[in-house]
């Protein structure tokens, strides 16, 4: 039996097909989840994809957080359901208080799309087990509001508990505090990051295939 990974489509989600393709290439079965449907259809893990849910109106992720499907996902995440939030999905996770902090407008005020180098700081989460700790990877980054912020004590706690999962290398592309590109919750099942691993799963279309281990990690974790 293949592992079922749900990919949520909110109105305005854009990278949902891409996340599904990545799951498939990693050997899993992508399952489309609809924002208005509370039922998770027996999936084993969930991806909140990139995009502009609800047009990013009000605040990025602020409206998506209240959609029916999120109610079930939030409850599931607290019980250990692996959840990956990519870009807009990361914003939704922060708005849902599954992850601390917030994403703000890039410090240079422009949308930026670039191939971004990252260091994997924590290879023990549900979504990073197939990386070596300290591995350096390159995946696309594309956002207008990707500046990670939190108060100093939260940042200190994240660092102390090893919950900073990815850090920007070479260039901090959006003014994120302490070069933070992605974080996890204390249990390690919920991970959010601004860069897009689902765009780095094929040599033909991505800068690298460094994104693939995100998806193989969770599949391995679930069959283990």
């Amino acid at each position: 039996m293949t592992t079922r990974v749900g990919v949520v489509t909110f109105p305005g989600s854009l990278d949902d097909q891409d996340a599904g393709r990545a799951v498939k290439l990693a050997g899993g079965e992508p399952v489309a989840l609809w924002h208005g449907d509370k039922d998770l259809h027996q999936v084993d893990a969930v991806i909140l994809p990139g995009g502009f849910s609800y047009g990013d109106y009000l605040r990025c992720g602020a409206i998506a957080r209240f959609s029916p499907v999120m109610e079930t996902i939030i409850a599931g995440a607290r019980e250990g359901l692996p959840v990956l939030g990519i870009c807009n999905g990361f914003q939704v996770l922060c708005e849902s208080h599954l992850l601390p902090g917030a994403l703000t407008r890039n410090d240079h005020l422009h949308f930026v799309c670039r191939d971004q180098r990252l260091r994997v700081e924590n290879a023990a989460t549900a979504w990073t087990g197939d990386f070596a700790s300290g591995a350096e990877i390159t995946v696309p980054l594309k956002n207008g509001e990707g500046g990670y912020v939190a108060d100093e004590s939260t940042l200190d706690a994240l660092e102390a508990e090893g919950r900073v999962v990815f850090r920007y290398l070479d260039v901090n592309p959006n003014g994120s505090r302490r070069d933070i590109a992605g974080i996890t919750n204390a249990a390690g099942n919920v991970v959010g990051l601004m860069p897009h691993p689902e765009h780095a799963v094929e040599a033909l279309t991505g800068p690298t295939t460094d994104g693939l281990p995100f998806f193989t990690s969770v599949l391995k974790k679930l069959v283990a």
Binding site: L14, G51, G55
Partner: protein
């Protein structure tokens, strides 16, 4: 025109009863003879609503009244092509790319709105072309933006460019469409008239092609998408069809405001509706809004149409019937649906939170009738609005300055006297705004979304995979060179075509079809009209010879400030197909030791070149010679070499000549090159001439014999000019430039100006 100032509803009956009432036809952009013709068609004066419809539909932008007589050539000279499924006249042309797939693509201008309000003007330009593609039944899969601005260092360029780029990114990124290429060009001639052209490409199965027509009496007319507001009223007639006059009133209200989130919902909702085969005809609402959609749908169908205008959902309840008909509010579509399918149609719209309203139906008759709270305000033959507008044979004449311009031969300009001076000029060239790296612009666009982007800016063409199983793909390139076209508009249009053609072939794709955006000054100037006539003739002739049908496009006139027109700027987009995208050829020199070959012949051709512009501020002489037969041969060689895996990199040679291409390929791949000047050429001509039908390729040593044998057998000159090597570009006996120095020169200018 507001409801307040017109307390009496101007019904058809009222118009018949008050034949002498004064009407604001001149303010709406109509000429007196056009107004009189409307009266003649109707046998009475038009109502206010009818006048509104005719004024927008008979505008230059919608009716092509000045350009039509010239555009006919694209049909008359069309090459026999099996690939063309839908030709000019629909929302966009459709081309067969094999395996049951059809591709639709089109380029359009949003020049005038983008000058008035750069962000919204550019954003809604993207939105409009995407809806055109959607209306054909296709899923939009990519966009490109050829852009032209005034001088890079002019203060107003700092207002216009960042706004335009943010608008394109803000809208396109939010739709989830990869932006895969385009152009960024600076020239003082565009100072008051920036050119913001937008191209969209979409894909569908053959059986999914939809057309804009309202057939079948009793079928319902459904307006869906955004509510109608007061934005963009008269955009096409006022903004796009007259020159800017600095003393006139502010034109800001004529620019529409976009909502990309609404458009994303509209795309997904429409594709779901298509998948269930729920529409008989469909049309997007763009320029001229409901006036255009209702009259075009009715005109293309077999019957008439009756519309209850007061059922249109409004953002502003005070809008008058005239304003509703003229509004260019964005993100709206109009569909014709059989009565039994209406419920399902509305259900899908509700799923996507898209407002949908039955506003009328197709009738037995042959009239377009529009009612406002039960009273008839429009009763017209729809063809007279949509398809039988005025046609002008504008006078045209070769400008009297043309001869002097062409005889001002760049041969008189001083050339570099030694390697040191040549080095200095090369460095200046690759760091000049037109030759510099444009990633400050393109980094603001999402090129990855949808996961099918195989090649994107700065590659010669943008390439998209359309089938993940078979690896079938399409490629697109857009090009234009206003300097060449100013020197010779006939050749200039052909040069735009062959550059895009060559760019598509350089990546390994076979060119299939053409779209064009013809940007010119005022058609009321005989000199401009001559440029237009020459450019269209040149483009049609070359398309015929290369076997490429023109599938559609757009004409933008009145791009001038006062008496000064822009350079004639035909922008040409070429679509190509590639059977296996994994065989594509990128531009980067990636492997040390590979051999560099220059394909084609280099002559001493500098008219309109980047060198004359950057080093001497000169524009004169004749542009490079066009050789269509040679272009075709070069393309065949590039495609064969790509398919058979003989070459690892290819880059088209265009403005800036060989050295520009080599610098770009070296910087992209992170490797240097050693170049040797071939016998018979001066270093200056070798490096900087802009002769056409040329490309530079990198090949593994093991492929040299096979490749050169192929070129020799088919008669394409191929000269070994060097090798990929080290971290410098060395031109033997002339100069050396380090990649670091070149990168700094090439990548800094746009960031310094706009960052």
């Amino acid at each position: 025109m507001s409801a307040q100032s017109k307390p009496v509803l101007d019904t058809v009956k009222h118009a018949t009863d008050t034949p002498e009432a004064a009407q604001p036809w001149a303010e709406l952009g109509l000429k007196e003879d056009e107004y009189l013709r409307i009266r003649e068609i109707l046998g009475r004066r038009p109502t206010g609503a009818e006048l509104a419809m005719y004024s927008v539909m008979w505008s230059e932008h919608c009716s092509y009244k000045s350009s039509k007589v010239h555009l006919r050539q694209f049909g008359e000279k069309a090459p026999a092509s099996d690939a063309l499924l839908v030709g000019i006249g629909e929302n966009a042309g459709v081309v067969d790319v094999g395996q049951g797939y059809a591709v639709t693509f089109k380029v359009e201008s949003h020049n005038h709105p983008s000058y008035v309000e750069p962000y919204q003007g550019a954003a809604t330009g993207v939105g409009g072309i995407v809806r055109d593609i959607l209306a054909m039944g296709a899923r939009p899969i990519g966009v490109m933006d050829p852009l032209r601005f005034g001088a890079a260092d002019h203060p107003d360029t700092r207002r216009v460019l960042p706004g335009v780029v943010a608008g394109i990114g803000g809208y396109g990124n939010c739709l989830g469409l990869p932006n895969i290429g385009g152009e960024v060009v600076f020239d003082p001639c565009y100072q008051g008239n920036p050119l913001v052209n937008a191209l969209c490409v979409g894909v569908m199965r053959h059986e999914d092609i939809h057309l804009a027509k309202a057939a079948g009496a009793g079928n319902k007319v459904i307006l869906y998408g955004a509510r109608t507001g007061g934005d963009g009223i008269g955009g096409v007639s006022v903004l796009a069809s007259e020159t800017f006059d600095s003393t006139g009133p502010a034109k800001r209200p004529a620019v529409q405001v976009g909502d990309p989130f609404q458009e994303k919902l509209l795309i997904e909702c429409t594709l779901e509706i298509f998948a269930e085969r729920l529409v008989a005809g469909i049309q997007d609402l763009g320029g001229a809004g409901l006036s255009c959609a209702t009259s075009e749908l009715a005109s293309a169908g077999s019957g008439g149409m009756r519309v209850e205008l007061d059922t249109v959902p409004l953002r502003d309840s005070s809008l008058s019937p005239e304003e509703i008909l003229m509004s260019e509010s964005q993100e709206r579509m109009c569909a014709v649906v059989e009565p039994e399918k209406v419920d399902r149609f509305l259900e899908i719209c509700a799923k996507w939170d898209v407002i949908a309203t039955v506003i009328g139906e197709v009738t037995e008759g042959d009239r377009l009738e529009i009612y406002w709270h039960g009273e008839q305000v429009v009763d017209v033959p729809p063809r007279t609005v949509a398809h039988e507008g005025p046609v002008y044979e504008r006078p045209y004449a070769r400008p009297d300055w043309q001869d002097a311009l062409q005889t001002d031969d760049p041969a008189r300009l001083p050339r570099p006297v030694d390697g040191a001076e040549l080095r200095e000029q090369v460095l200046r060239l690759v760091g000049s705004p037109n030759q510099a790296d444009v990633s400050w612009v393109t980094d603001q666009y999402d090129r990855y979304v949808l996961g099918n982007t195989v090649l994107s800016q700065p590659e010669d063409s943008g390439m998209l995979r359309i089938d993940e199983e078979t690896n079938l793909g399409v490629a697109l390139a857009t090009d234009g060179n206003g300097r060449y076209a100013k020197l010779d508009p006939y050749a200039g249009a052909q040069l735009a075509l062959v550059e895009a053609y060559r760019n598509v072939a350089a990546g390994g794709s076979r060119p299939l079809a053409v779209t064009d955006c013809l940007n010119f000054g005022s058609p009321e100037d005989p000199g401009v009209m001559w440029q237009f006539a020459e450019a269209t003739r040149g483009l049609a002739d070359a398309c015929l010879e290369l076997g490429l049908p023109v599938t559609g496009g757009n004409v933008s006139l009145y791009n001038q400030t006062g008496e000064t027109a822009i350079h004639p700027t035909p922008v040409v987009g070429v679509l190509g197909v590639i059977d296996d995208v994994t065989r594509r050829t990128p531009m980067a020199f990636r492997t040390e030791g590979q051999l560099l070959y220059l394909l084609g012949e280099t002559a001493d051709e500098f008219g309109g070149s980047a060198w004359t512009d950057v080093v001497h501020g000169h524009l004169g002489g004749l542009p490079p010679r066009v050789d269509l037969e040679r272009e075709r041969l070069l393309a065949e060689i590039l495609i064969s070499a790509s398919r058979d895996g003989m070459i690892d990199a290819a880059h088209d040679l265009s403005d800036g000549g060989l050295i520009q291409a080599v610098v770009e390929s070296c910087l992209r791949g992170g490797h240097g090159a050693r170049l040797v000047v071939p016998e018979g050429l001066t270093p200056f001509t070798f490096l900087l001439s802009e002769s056409t039908a040329r490309a530079v390729v990198a090949l593994p040593r093991g492929e040299e014999v096979r490749f050169t044998d192929m070129c020799a057998a088919r008669g394409l000159p191929a000269a070994r000019i060097g090798v990929v090597d080290g971290s410098d570009i060395e031109v033997q006996g002339q100069f050396t430039l380090s990649l670091g120095e070149l990168r700094e020169a090439h990548e800094r200018p746009l960031r310094a100006l706009f960052g």
